[in-house]
Amino acid sequence: MKNASIGSYILRRLLQTIPVILGVVVVNFLLLQLAPGDLATVIAGEAGGATPEYIAELRARFGQDQPLFVQLLNYMGNLLTFDLGYSFRQSAPVLDLLLDRLGPTLLLMGTTLVVSLSLGILLGLLAALWVKTWKDHLISVTAVLLYATPLFWVGLMLVLVFAVKLDWFPTSGMENVVAFHEGWDRVWDIAHHLILPTVTLSVFYLALYARLMRASMLEQRGLDYVTTARAKGLTDAQITRRHVFRNALLPVVTMAGVQTGSLLGGSVVVEAVFAWPGLGQLAYQSLFARDYNLLLGIFFLSAILVVVVNLVVDIIYVILDPRIRLG
């Protein structure tokens, strides 16, 4: 029965995402219209100037001469058939470009999520267990420092120290393209390239989760059910493992869901610093090239990504917390 209700819960939540994604599409489209300049002026500018007639011709070719709402309806109609348009800049369909870049971004986001959550929870747990000792202070102060350090600076410093000075890691890219590795060699190569970007993107979230986990643990430890557990004769380790840990985890899971969106934002910076061939880097390039079709496609995909991750978090939450009503 519980499985059936989880199934209908997921279905209901999926239905609820449709208006959200529609809203995101419309708002994105309108926002981009507000931005000054368009592809035609950029191309004209790069060509070192062009006649007004040529610019008008370019606009007509891109469909930009039509009224705004017609453009919007066209765009939404195309979306229904998964036609995200054509990137005139990159001379390729937007969908192909996105699918090409989605893998690296998902890889970076996924490892970051796993690293920051697991290490953050572990450090928060340890700090709470060692509360008010020098070990706790060490973890807490480090967390505050990491929390306050800008992402790009961390990235640049890591490159400077570990890639340039020590030469332990590559400075940029996702794999050694001239080595033509195959099989496990390629996996190791990508993992090697992945370390610095992941560390850079993780530190902030790691610090955030560690602080939250510590506070949550300390709060839970003062609650009545913990006294009950002590009165049963459980050891401190048993109390922490069986009772406090899972309760303390709930706010961290909530926070992780909320932060996924900003994780995507952070990956734009990190991908730019490490030349990681992901969506963030593509977004960065297309923004400056006024490649709006591509940019809209990236926004669309990001919105879907965030919605999906939130759905996953909510499902995890239902599994963790029996008090959430599915009905």
């Binding site: 609820q16 006294t227 009950t228 557990a229 009165a231 004769g233 069986r242 009772h243 029996p322 009905g327």
Partner: protein, 541 residues
């Protein structure tokens, strides 16, 4: 006595240096004999809970610790025992039942597993044997459908059911001693009676000794073999229950006994006045889980066609247990909740079916005194400002409103200087007085009091009830008094309406209902009053 189960000798529990007194428990010596229920009675702050925690080794170390005396249990001094040995005793030989069944269980773990943990920690039984024992324990505390119960989570159970689970947990290993720290204070009257009955039944069946901590002499009369009365960390009187209850020696004990609300109903005032508040066929139904894409929302009929009237200057008690719809009624009367149908009239004018702006006119006439004196006052506002805020909104100049606030504080029995302090500096009873002053500040016609004394100790309860009564006479107020406790209702109200599952099952003058209850539910509420026989035997005050 050497054969005592528990022998506490000259126990001192030291408080941290920054607290207002040195010791929470000062030189207490007590014994609990085999198969005996010893009640420790005292108000909050008397050190009675600290005693219980000291025995369990659950004092909030390192700030609070026992610094002198002995706690002898089965021939060993618990205060000198190591952590490992103490753990073997906790849950095994001494078990504890807590006050708050709502928070005493882990919300994320099935209750069967929580009982099972005790067995897992203390015995070598394998899983099937433990499951059988858990099932037997759940049956022992008379919970229905043990197999389903074992898999339930705490939020799926009522307060009384959770307390039964906690009791099952305490009984798991047939401990020699159970410490029960106000185990029924958070429960409804009828649930309280059932739980008290259960504790007594199981205590007899298993031959366990019980150290029972409470503030209510009614409960003592119900359950105790012997009584020890504590005040400010010291035992002021101890002896067999039959003696202490009937001929209390110490003045403090006498005061506590006198504070237990009697069962002497008030009489209806001779003059008949027109009704101030009239409620006609009020209906309020909650629809749960009604989302944009969900079907099959669940309906809860909180109030089903209730009619009431309160004459001017009179007071009516709405008595019911949790879930009876009494708080929904109160919310409808103060306009926080819109009834689905039915009329509420104040002074003949309809309060229902009108707009926001028209509703505002009534806000001043109807004021509320809330249940929780700790949560209902803004902690960042000074008391004077809390009280003056209402009049200022209604146009009284600020200086004058603050002056009136001081006067009101004096009226509710506080110093006028209290106006310059913050709520956290006051005790629960004092805060409830502030809450009353706040309600009176806008000179309402009707006061809705939602369980105003259920969070307070019995002795403080009495003072607050007397205050409400005085003010009512002085201001000519009408009052809708909501409570689950018939004793309290009898003390302050001329009329009583008994509410059960959203329906009024009986209504009439307090005297009539007490003399001759018609409905079976009313009868069960009356029977559930703790220490009923003892209270009736007391000479009327």
């Amino acid at each position: 006595m050497t054969d005592a189960v528990l022998d506490i000798r000259d126990l001192h529990v030291a408080l941290p240096a920054w607290s207002d007194r040195r010791h929470a428990v000062k030189g207490v010596s007590l014994t609990v004999n085999p198969r005996e229920i010893l009640c420790i009675v005292g108000e909050s702050g008397s050190g009675k809970s600290m005693m219980g925690k000291a025995v369990m080794g659950l004092l909030p170390a390192p700030h609070v610790h026992a610094d002198r005396g002995q706690i002898l249990f089965e021939g060993r001094d618990l205060l000198t025992l190591g952590a490992e040995a103490m753990r073997a005793i906790r849950g095994g030989r001494i078990a504890m039942i807590f006050q708050e069944p709502m928070t005493a269980l882990n919300p994320l773990m099935p209750v069967g597993r929580q009982i099972d943990e005790v067995l897992e920690v203390h015995t070598d039984l394998d899983a099937p044997a433990r499951a059988a024992r858990v099932r037997a324990l759940i049956e022992d505390v008379h919970l229905p459908d043990p197999d389903r119960m074992m898999r339930s989570y705490p939020h799926q159970l009522s307060g009384g059911q959770r307390q039964r689970i906690v009791i099952a947990m305490a009984l798991a290993l047939e401990p020699a001693l159970i410490i029960a720290d106000e185990p029924t204070t958070a429960l409804d009257v009828t649930t309280q009676a059932q739980i008290l009955h259960l504790i007594k039944e199981l205590q007899r069946k298993h031959g366990t000794s019980v150290l029972f901590i409470t503030h209510d002499f009614g409960v003592v009369a119900e359950i105790a073999d012997r009584v020890a009365v504590m005040r400010q960390g010291e035992v002021v009187e101890k002896g067999p229950a039959s003696e202490v209850l009937v001929t209390p020696q110490h003045t403090y004990t006498q005061a506590l006994v006198a504070a237990v609300p009697g069962l002497n109903p008030r009489n209806r005032p001779a003059e008949v006045t027109p009704p101030l508040l009239e409620i006609r066929n009020l209906v309020r139904t909650y629809r749960l889980g009604g989302g944009l894409f969900s079907r099959g929302a669940r309906e809860v009929k909180a109030v089903q066609s209730v009619s009431l009237s309160i004459p001017k200057g009179s007071s009516l008690a709405l008595v019911g247990e949790s879930g009876s719809g009494k708080t929904t009624m109160a919310k409808c009367v103060i306009g926080l909740e819109r009834p689905d149908s039915g009329d509420i009239l104040l002074d003949g004018k309809p309060m229902t079916g009108i707009g926001r702006a028209q509703m505002r006119a009534f806000r001043r006439d109807v004021q509320m005194v809330f249940q929780d004196p700790f949560a209902s006052l803004n902690p960042r506002q000074k008391v004077g400002e809390i009280i003056a805020m209402g009049p200022v909104i209604w146009g009284t100049p600020r200086a004058q409103a603050l002056e009136e606030a001081r006067e009101l504080l004096r009226l509710v029995g506080l110093q006028p200087e209290a106006a310059d302090r913050y709520p956290h500096e006051f005790s629960g009873g004092q805060r409830q007085r502030i809450g009353i002053a706040r309600a009176l500040a806008v000179k309402p016609k009707l006061v809705v009091a939602d369980e105003p004394v259920s969070a307070l100790d019995v002795s403080v309860q009495k003072q607050v009830l007397e205050l409400l009564d005085d003010l009512r006479k002085q201001f000519g107020l009408s009052m809708l008094f909501i409570t689950h406790d018939l004793r309290v209702a009898a003390t302050v109200c001329e009329e009583i309406a008994i509410l059960q599952r959203g329906v009024i099952v009986e209504q009439g003058s307090t005297a009539e209902i007490f003399a001759n209850p018609q409905h079976a539910y009313t009868q069960s509420l009356l029977d559930a009053v703790p220490g009923r026989d003892w209270i009736s035997s007391l000479p009327a005050a």
